[in-house]
Amino acid sequence: MRYIEPHAHMVSRVTDDYERMALAGCEAVCEPAFWAGFDRSSAAGFFDYFCQLTEHEPKRAAKFGLKHFCWLCINSKEAEEVKLAEEVIALVPQFLDRPNVLGIGEIGLNKNSRNELRVFELQVELAAKYNQLILVHTPHLEDKLKGTRLILDALKSDRRIRPERVVIDHVEEHTVEMVLDAGMWAGMTLYPETKCTPARAVDILETYGRERLWLNSACDWGVSDPLAVPKTALEMKRRGHLAAAIEKVVYGNPKKFLSQSVNFKV
């Protein structure tokens, strides 16, 4: 079975994970810019990170026949300091024409603060100005519902943003419907303890259908599983889903969305 991993933080993973993903059928991995687990002290740290995502990480992936793509931004966990965020946002345009860049992401909210929302809006502006796809992180746990609503309100109020070019990630049962109703794509993140389990993700697919939905592991430095997508494909198979239906979710859907970027080719 072939699949695309549309959200993985490979800079935090060991090389063995690339090999395991390739053996499991992964053809491409997409890496949004995110929080490293600690705050960077200057924009220069982000410049180095963007170089890592656009120069170094594709080479690591290529050793296992995997294509590597990335998204660029300042993440919401480091967005409380607006001045730093503005400096980082100013760095992004010089990277946008690099061959593995898919768009702006993962932007979004974390604790739903005014500054986070301000920085989110600045990055939506950036995406609109440069006609980039958008990948959105929604908050964790008790903050997800409110944050998803604030994010959708901000995106819907900007008439330049076409909903079919936006994916709202980390949806769960209480947020998936509002995202799909807004005409945007929805990503289900498969985590052992938070977000979706494979069984719940398949429940959501059975409830809402297979259009504009994708699966991702969002594997990073925390508790996560880089093989979560193929494991969920197995969960679909256990429930009797046909091979074509499984391939649509784990390969066809991410390919359809990501192919809106001229850089995405598998």
Binding site: E80, K111, L145, H174
Partner: protein
């Protein structure tokens, strides 16, 4: 899937998780000192699982969620604890 197929696939897993919840509540009861809003939210949400109404997962997630709609003045930190403490 039929109900029998769902039970065959998932009953033992769900039973295991139910026992874990029961053991967690026993552990909390054995412990000393005050509890907080998380346990109150947990108990209140457990009560919502009774009956045959659908969308129970959604109901549980909504019960733990911040229902307010305005951005907060400043992020108090980065983490989330899993339950909304209510207005402070």
């Amino acid at each position: 899937m039929t109900r029998q197929q769902v039970l065959d696939l998932y009953f033992l897993d769900a039973r295991h998780k139910l026992v874990e919840i029961a053991a967690f509540l026993d552990r909390v009861e054995r412990a000393t000192g005050p509890d907080d809003f998380r346990l109150k939210a947990f108990r209140a949400t457990l009560a919502k699982l009774q009956g045959r109404k659908r969308n129970k997962a959604r109901t549980v997630l909504l019960a733990f969620s911040d229902p307010t709609t305005k951005p907060i003045a400043q992020a108090p930190g980065k983490g989330a604890c899993g339950a909304w403490p209510g207005k402070k």
